[in-house]
Symmetry: C4
Subunit: 213 residues, 4 copies
């Protein structure tokens, strides 16, 4: 089994796991990982993500998004996340990016006033799960506005990657939509995905409680 073949199987398995947790659903959400030839394995668009098979991934060029190798099934088209995944790879050296449609990500972004561009998370041991962050730090997660099409998020994301306040962020929240979460490799992206969903859920639960009290 080649490295890429194993990665394809792990990506399909992670999509099933994330679907079971409500992080991808109804064809929403996505994932990418490293291919053998410097390309990115990219899930197809418009399909039930928990039923993606190893042969359903495209290999795309992370520099410009063009398709290097298509999916086995000619009816499939590459995910709309293509431009965002490539940008994240180039700006953060990330070989794996998860796009979450979790409700908890939507509710976490709801906590942030419209004119504020980040969610501040503090006072949680799980912050240690993000590289370069300790449990005494205040961690800023950038928050951007949603756009009619996914590819139109690129402009805001470019500004986020240039902003030194977000140097340690391994995630971006998109209002009314979800989050992009990344890591050096597939297992790092998986770990960060769990950590950020915990941080979002904890922040929503604590702020909700404060509002009530």
């Amino acid at each position: 089994m080649t490295g890429e073949q194993q990665t394809r199987e792990i990506l399909a398995e992670l999509l099933r796991e994330f679907h079971g947790r409500g992080w991808v659903s109804g064809t929403g959400g996505g994932i990418c990982g490293p291919a053998d030839d410097g390309g990115l394995l990219l899930a197809p668009t418009g399909v039930l993500k928990e039923r993606v098979r190893p042969g359903d991934f495209f290999v795309v060029d992370p520099e410009d998004g063009h398709v290097i190798r298509p999916a086995d099934d000619p009816a499939l088209r590459p995910s709309e996340c293509n431009a965002i995944f490539g940008l994240t790879h180039r700006q953060r050296d990330a070989w794996s990016v998860v796009h979450s449609h979790a409700l908890t990500a939507v509710l976490a972004a709801d906590l942030v006033p419209r004119l504020t561009d980040h969610l501040a998370i503090r006072g949680l041991e799980m912050l240690k799960g993000i590289p370069g962050v300790g449990n005494q730090d205040t961690h800023l997660v950038p928050v951007i506005r949603n756009t009619p099409r996914e590819s139109e998020l690129v402009e805001q994301l470019t500004a986020v990657f240039d902003d030194p306040r977000f140097a340690t962020a391994s995630a971006v929240l998109v209002r009314d939509h979800g989050a992009y979460i990344w890591g050096d490799g597939v297992w790092d992206a998986k770990r960060h995905t769990e950590v950020y969903h915990f941080l979002f859920e904890a922040t929503v639960a604590r702020r909700g409680r404060q509002l009530e009290g």
Copy 2:
């Protein structure tokens, strides 16, 4: 394996998945899909839906609901959803309809004042999962009153299907009861079922938060 045999197996598998998520439970809820001969495969009534087997489905005529082919087990009777599924097929060209008993559907209908006949959903990327709807649109889901027997919902449903405000709706909420959700085929109905449950849950969570704030 014929197309119908595969559909029977998928319908049984989806009932197990929906049961695991609390969308059908305690014999409540149901599903239909396309049979080979222009009929509708219909789950039986009064049974635990997660234990329905491929041979337990009836084939009924979507024009008048009469049984074309019975279930293998002569003790079974066709679901009370029969009249509603047929109406939805004739009015919306839907070959698959899901009847959900999810608590989140009941709570979403609770948000709608008694004299209002719809739930307005806006500001969510997941709206894109409904054909003809974008993430900047306000999507109206019709809400009808519950009746002592399921077949008595037909009159209200007929009015809903005639109402141009609900042209893009692929779901109807029934107060104190649940929802009917449909699609062209089985996978479309499955996708819409996930999307609408997400939309209901998100709307309940956001409105609850507003009430508290």
Copy 3:
């Protein structure tokens, strides 16, 4: 496979399913079903319920609770639910009783003022899942006080079974503790268990919302 052997396997499977849903946990909760010889199959006490095997059940006499046939493992002792399950059998002709430790049952009983002896449930289609109850009925579920030992609940339960207001109830809530839920046979008890947990959860969610509003 004899009828009893199959029942033992189903009871063990249901305990695993109920554990997965949080209805039995930490050795709490239990179940009984019909044995071949007019006895009741009774789970052992003090064991992890999701790991009970078919040979771990006792057969007890539903009239007086004495052990007719022990579990295969001589270290096991019969559940403390013995007296309650027998009483329920004699008063309601129930051959299967589930004892739930679900948090939702505790929170549902919390809604009932201390001097009131029942929870009134109305306005839910799922009420139809209880024999003799329609979706327009107000269904009264008796609520009793917890006692230091489980067997001491018998006195209050006897009064409940004699009370004509509770003629259609297939469940009793025990404050700070959980619920007993029964049916003619194992599948009836399973269906009622799902239905009542839905009714409890819906009532808790609706009342919580009213308190906030």
Copy 4:
């Protein structure tokens, strides 16, 4: 299969189960159990806990934490819980300790004012799941402050173990972090882990409701 080999398999299985329930996630959380030679089996640090295999455990000396036998994979390092697990073993004769990162543990500690050092739990049948505690007792769970590194919790834990108010506690809550929960053996620790998570969740739900009311 030796006793230790079986324990290694059970520990790996429990980590998968706990991950599925959100009690360990994102490499956070951990577990230990008895080795054949008086040592403690200790999970590795910085790995996805649901993917730990039987050969991944270290055997450490519970007196001073030194590694008696390493994990099969030389790239692994022993968990940071090492010092805490050893201390708990020596002070409470516990051969198995679970370290939970559950959100419900964080929220339960949030209920305790900053200058108070315990959570009082009462009025729940599930209290019987803790040795020496009845359902009429008020059970005190010690609460300690989080520290930058896990090993720095030892000083506060030593004080907790010396405090006669906490003689029956089989758990300690760590603010902003989670909980340590122990038992004589692996199955006792598993049972207590379920019981305490139920007690935390019930207490959070009940207090939240009081705040709203």
